[in-house]
């Protein structure tokens, strides 16, 4: 028995640490301050064991596509971690037992991985749909594109190209101007919601408050 123990310990020590991706779904009934506290605890636990957080991405509240433990919503959080191999099993067990974690998943990252953020709920724009038709155009579409496309322009004389270029630029400017107009309205709403949340948290989260 003693021999077996020594071999396992040696293997573990030799393995050092490797990179993982951790995704958490937290209980949606938690308040903002409680979520922060819970995540802080987790990070502290990781750092105590000799791990390291390389990337953080807070997704926030999201609808679940099916019910999980009687919840229809969840608070999503993604970490990229460097964990010592000894700690992994213990950490998984800890996440399983943790009450506020609805579901968790740890994956080993491939070599040379870089974290990318995705706009998940962004609808597919019309411009992308147009690109698709450009890629596989039918016979009729092909002719119409040839007249307007900039790809064929360089074949013409240099003077014609110069004339063609300035006409396109103002269109882009108009688009950007429209975007700028549209953006501040959204921001105001978000700010209002976030302020409301903070105020509510301050009221409910106080120690004097009892139900």
């Amino acid at each position: 028995m003693v021999k077996v123990k020594t071999t396992t310990s040696e293997k573990v020590e030799a393995g050092n640490s490797s990179l993982y991706e951790l995704m958490l779904i937290l209980n949606p009934d938690l308040r903002e301050s409680e979520v922060k506290k819970k995540l802080k605890e987790l990070v502290e636990m990781i750092e105590k064991a000799g791990g390291r957080v390389t990337e953080e991405d807070f997704w926030g509240r999201r609808k679940l596509t099916y019910r999980l433990k009687k919840y229809n919503e969840g608070i999503y959080m993604v970490y990229n971690l460097e964990l010592p191999n000894v700690f992994l099993k213990e950490f998984k067990e800890h996440l399983r037992i943790e009450k506020e974690v609805v579901r968790s998943m740890i994956l080993k990252l491939p070599a040379g991985h870089t974290y990318t953020k995705y706009d998940l709920d962004k609808p597919i724009e019309e411009s992308e749909r147009k690109e698709k038709t450009k890629r596989y155009p039918s016979r009729n579409e092909n002719i119409s594109i040839k007249h307007n496309s900039t790809i064929i322009a360089p074949k013409k004389k240099a003077e014609e190209v110069k004339e063609a270029m300035p006409t396109e630029e103002p269109k882009k400017k108009e688009k950007t101007a429209k975007d700028k107009k549209a953006e501040p309205k959204k921001e105001e709403k978000e700010i209002d919601e976030s302020e409301l949340d903070k105020k509510l948290d301050a009221i409910i989260g106080g120690e004097d408050f009892n139900l």
Partner: protein, 83 residues
């Protein structure tokens, strides 16, 4: 990233190419729902290879990614039952 995916059969069978090979993607992320949705059925099933034109190597990676995102409730297993 301006990656273009199209699973519609506009090309004849022989000329269709794998969308991941043309975009040179080796690793398919389970968090990238928008691209995964192109390869899912109306019944939320993984589209077969002869329909989407994905090569065998990428189909295996893709199916893993879809299953992982299902596990984390980002993509449904089945459509919701509506009475």
């Amino acid at each position: 990233m301006s990656v273009i995916f199209s699973t519609k059969q506009k090309h004849p069978l022989g000329k269709r190419r794998c969308a991941f090979c043309t975009n040179q993607m080796k690793h398919i992320d389970y968090k990238d729902i928008r691209t995964l949705k192109y390869f899912i059925d109306g019944f939320q099933r993984i589209k077969p290879r002869y329909y989407s034109g994905v090569c065998l190597r990428h189909q295996k990676v893709l199916s893993n990614a879809i299953k992982r995102s299902r596990e984390m409730a980002l993509i449904p297993f089945v459509n919701k039952y509506k009475a």
